[in-house]
Symmetry: C2
Subunit: 227 residues, 2 copies
């Protein structure tokens, strides 16, 4: 469902060039559950942002469900992305003046096909699944770090996307809550969702079916997890 | 050096009251290295914010170096806090339009006693200690999540505070970089700094000398780590 060929991403910083991604060839079949690990700065978020159509590569190709993403028109980008992906951002990206519930409902604003049913109910259900049934009306600054992270997770699932891209979704969670999140991802994966999780936590990675290691902007290792 | 008595913190949310802290009695001697653990929402950040004079309790007393903090005048609060504490925030709180180097120099603006020497040099040194010597001129949005976290750590150390309060300082760091941060904290502790680290990571907690467990706004356990 996802295929990248020789993907690179570079940033010009005055005199130096930062090579965030260098020649990344990455293939993902539908219904995979993949953990991406690697040192801080190795290019994981950069890769995830390109996969989620939030950023464009400096060179190379990205082919999603058989179509080259570079051929999408400007107007097609956002609806296409909102329909295909649920994204958990490394820094949550919640709207500050909006309650947890309204933040989670937001992707459903785009759901014009009405695939998901009543937005408010779907949002409440998603929040309950991450243990925040009693925090729905809190603003982000009235939530703990781990609660904000879980709102971001609920928002990623609410429109039942085909692909979830989660950037360090348990960095602010205790061991038990992290395990709950991974169990939830495993259930969603069994129901057909393709899931890519960037993580620093080996216990999270062990719950995936495949582990991809990144280093200095390259894919350094790619292994099936033995059951 | 730190003593709290019957500290409570509550928030009125319409009809309900959220009890973030309930009757917390917490004592810290100088030069301790303490890990605070507990489930998401158990009150760890709330406690740390009160200890760092960033927030006031709803009731109870906080005595810092023998003086009740409630007796500080409005004008004394900020300079007192900036001189005593280095704070690593759970969400980093970096200034977005300011480079990593300038963000780290910021606490030294308050250092009128000139205790630390040249601000720019101290800031460069702190950034090198966390492995960001080659990222000094990047803006926060040009840094990875873990790099931003390390800028926040460098900023907390730069003015050589007596007490460091670190709220989940390794949540976005890989295992090896996390271990480097903890080694750094252990060195600073041997040099006389009192350090309190909120963490979800058992490997970080094992590097501390004492582990405090929180649950539902209370201290649930408090144990010396056997060497
Ligand atoms: N301003 C606020 N208004 C209402 N409730 C709040 C506010 N700030 C925090 N809370 C609530 O207080 C509880 C404790 O919050 P705190 O941030 O201390 O948790 P924590 O232990 O740091 O959690 P985490 O590990 O997720 O960071 C949470 O359940 C949170 O929802
Ligand atoms: N806009 C930018 N301009 C310049 N350099 C950038 C920019 N964005 C990212 N970088 C650099 O690219 C590298 C890769 O960043 P990326 O965010 O992908 O890392 P990461 O693997 O997600 O790290 P972490 O685990 O710390 O989140 C980093 O070294 C970062 O400094
Ligand atoms: Mg990242
Ligand atoms: Mg917290």
């Amino acid at each position: 469902v996802i295929e990248t060929r020789r993907l690179t991403k570079s940033y010009q910083m005055g005199e130096t060039i930062v090579h965030a991604l260098r020649d990344v060839d990455f293939m993902v079949e539908t219904e995979e559950l993949i953990a991406v690990m690697g040192a801080s700065g190795s290019g994981k978020s950069t890769l995830l942002n390109i996969l989620g159509c939030l950023d464009k590569p400096s060179s190379g190709e990205y082919i999603l469900e058989g179509k080259p993403v570079s051929e999408l028109g400007k107007k097609e980008y956002a609806p296409f992305r909102n329909e295909k992906f649920g994204f958990v951002f490394q820094s949550f990206n919640l709207l500050p003046r909006t309650s947890a519930l309204e933040n989670v409902e937001l992707p459903l604003v785009y759901d014009r096909a009405g695939r998901v049913g009543k937005p408010r109910r779907a949002a409440e259900e998603a929040l309950r699944r991450v243990g925040l049934g009693d925090r729905m009306h809190h603003m982000p600054n009235q939530l703990s770090g781990g609660e904000q992270q879980r709102v971001a997770i609920a928002r990623a699932l609410v429109n039942n996307p085909a692909i979830i891209l989660a950037d360090e979704p348990t960095g602010n969670l205790d061991t038990s809550t992290s395990a709950d999140v991974m169990t939830l991802f495993q259930e969603l994966n069994r129901d057909g969702m393709t899931i890519i999780v960037v993580t620093h936590d080996p216990e999270i990675a062990e719950c995936a079916k495949r582990i991809v290691l990144m280093r200095d902007g390259r894919i350094h290792g790619d292994n099936q997890v033995s059951a």
